[in-house]
Amino acid sequence: MARDTIVLLGVNHKTTPLAVREKLALAGGYEQPLAALRRLDCLDECFLLSTCNRVEVLFTCKEPDLARRQVLDTLFAGSVSREEVAGCIYQYQDREAVRHLFLVASSLDSMIVGESQILGQLKEAYRFAAEKKTSGMVLNKLLHKSFSVAKRVRTETRIGASAVSISYAAVELGKKIFGDLKGKRVLLVGAGEMAELAAEHFVGQGVAEVIVANRTFERAVKLAGCYHGRAIGLEELVEQLQHVDIIVSSTGAPDLILTRKDVAPVMRKRRYQPLFFIDIAVPRDLDPAINEIDNVYLYDIDDLNNVVEMNKSERDREAVKATRIVEEETLKFCGWLENMEVTPTIVAIRAMADQICRDELDRTLGRLGSLTEKEKKSLEKMAASICSKMLYHPIRYLKTDHPCIDQQKRVEMVRALFNLDRDGGEGP
């Protein structure tokens, strides 16, 4: 009998535009959707992860196609049409699913490669699944493994240390200006993808507050909600300059939205505390002359690109290393997964029993010495039949369907009893 298939369904920032992602995101928390998934008979174990950039559904089941349909209907019916979901969702199975989860956990699949927030989000999501007991032996093992893979990647590579993107570069510059970003306030002007990316990064550095100003207020409110910040109208922009420290501008406006004349008078009111402007809009939002004001630093997208270029080769090197670690761990996990199947377990038990028989026979026959060939044969036969009689029930227990203990648990149990994994048996 075959083991359950591990299936991963998901959307992320690479495959899906923000507008769709927004609708798919599980805004109401994990509890309800997890409970709904639990009611599906075709699923065995399940786990959900939803962040601003991705929604991932991980589950084990017997029939992946049926399960996929039911899961998508359960989670996303009502918000997005089936066709639209089908268009952007990706599906991975078994080894691919494991690899994808490891990539996500170690932040190699993130919008900002190497950021550390995702691991926290993953752990948080797992806490829900564990509390609701929707994850079982396989997913527990898989998720725990993904945490340790992420940790390995973090400690063995410098993926998290170098500036890996425009926003990261902005954060690095911010640190050179402010020292510590904790307690600083960030103002996002324009609520597009780039603004979101930057916000993500600054939040990862522990800024005190994120304020979003946008042409359409609704969008501003939504993005602000992502970071527990607040939204303001574009008209309040100049007034807000007095209270914030970092401004990330990325509007689609054709003209400048802030000029030197707007900013210069604010500095006196701010008691000359530094202001850091990041203009990632094309065409530019901010007057380049702003950079000439004392204690004001303005960087546009080209300036940031220069900073990123400085770190590019190192980042590539580290990403290669990190991917190698993920591959390695994927292989290891798949090895464990295969062992969890019935047949290899039976083979392993038999091999172990045979080995014991042979060892014991050799010892006894050596001591007796003067036996005829026939006598030897019957001794061997006896030993073999004791072994197979002893193993009859354990093997039957593995093979036959059991009403209340599922097969994977039984495999686990038998492997532990016979110490087939040598290291004392790996728990979930």
């Binding site: 200006i177 008691r271 000359y272 950079n291 204690n295 220069n306």
Partner: protein, 270 residues
């Protein structure tokens, strides 16, 4: 004996500076740890030197050029260590150790005979006034170094050309904090120094307590410069580039005052 200690501590400072420079270029952490130990050791030796000289001379050794400059270097070393104990400013040690070594060099070149105290210096106010003033100047010197580092880093950030210094210098914020910290202490000590100087002058000159002496005039100008900067800093929130520039300019005035010190009223044997 005391001069031998001076030479040993001078060598130790040079070693510390060299190791600090090695750290500055290589950015290896264990090198910095070594540099710190060396610098601390050098400062201890220097302290021993000053105490030995005090015992030999029988008065606080701040009468000759050699002694004053050496005392100045010693103060800078200890001010740096006191600052280091509370804050971390990346690579500040490198710059400070260079200044200390330069001062030690000047001091070593000056004649190091022990001068007897002049008539006016036979007062308990003299060592108090002189050491307060010199320690104040040491803090102001550190503020000046911080200002220079600030300007270097600020230039890289404004011009967006990230060269050699960008990764090696600390954040602007920490340099500005350094500026504020050193100025507050330095200015307070300087004010106390001027006050004790005033009392001392009253005692020796009686009622005629104001001399149009270039040194005193410069000291006043310097004091007003710092007072203005402190005022602007605390009421207007002046900081950053402007504060750094004024700090450097004001320290130039301090140096000028020191030059007059060796010629004017305080001149020795005068």
């Amino acid at each position: 004996m005391s001069y031998l200690l001076f030479q040993v501590s001078f060598v130790a400072y040079i070693l510390a500076m060299t190791v600090y420079l090695v750290f500055f270029f290589t950015q290896k952490k264990y090198v910095r740890a070594l540099a710190r130990k060396l610098f601390f050791g050098a400062a201890l030796l220097h302290t021993a030197n000053i105490i030995a000289r005090l015992v030999e001379a029988g008065h606080t050794p701040i009468t000759s050029v050699h002694e004053v400059i050496s005392f100045f270097a010693w103060s800078i070393a200890w001010c740096y260590l006191s600052f280091r104990w509370r804050y971390t400013v990346k690579n500040f040690g490198t710059f400070s150790s260079i200044l200390v070594v330069l001062l030690m060099l000047v001091s070593a070149l000056a004649p190091h005979a022990i001068l007897p105290l002049s008539q006016t210096q036979h007062s308990w106010l003299f060592p108090v006034h002189a050491s307060l003033a010199i320690i104040a100047d040491a803090f102001l010197a550190l503020a000046c170094i911080g200002g220079l580092m600030y300007l270097l880093q600020e230039r890289e950030l404004k011009q967006k050309r990230f060269g050699f210094f960008y990764s090696r210098l600390p954040s602007l914020e920490s340099l500005d904090k350094l500026n504020q910290h050193c100025l507050s202490i330095g200015f307070t000590l300087m004010t106390l120094g001027m006050f004790t100087g005033y009392i001392w002058a009253r005692r020796i000159w009686g009622g005629r307590n104001w001399h149009w002496d270039p040194k005193i005039v410069w000291a006043m100008i310097t004091w007003f410069l710092y007072a203005a900067l402190m005022h602007q800093r605390f009421t207007m929130g002046w900081r950053g580039r402007r504060a750094a520039v004024v700090t450097i300019v004001a320290f130039m005035a301090v140096l000028l005052t020191l030059v007059f010190l060796f010629k004017g009223v305080h001149g020795h044997g005068a």
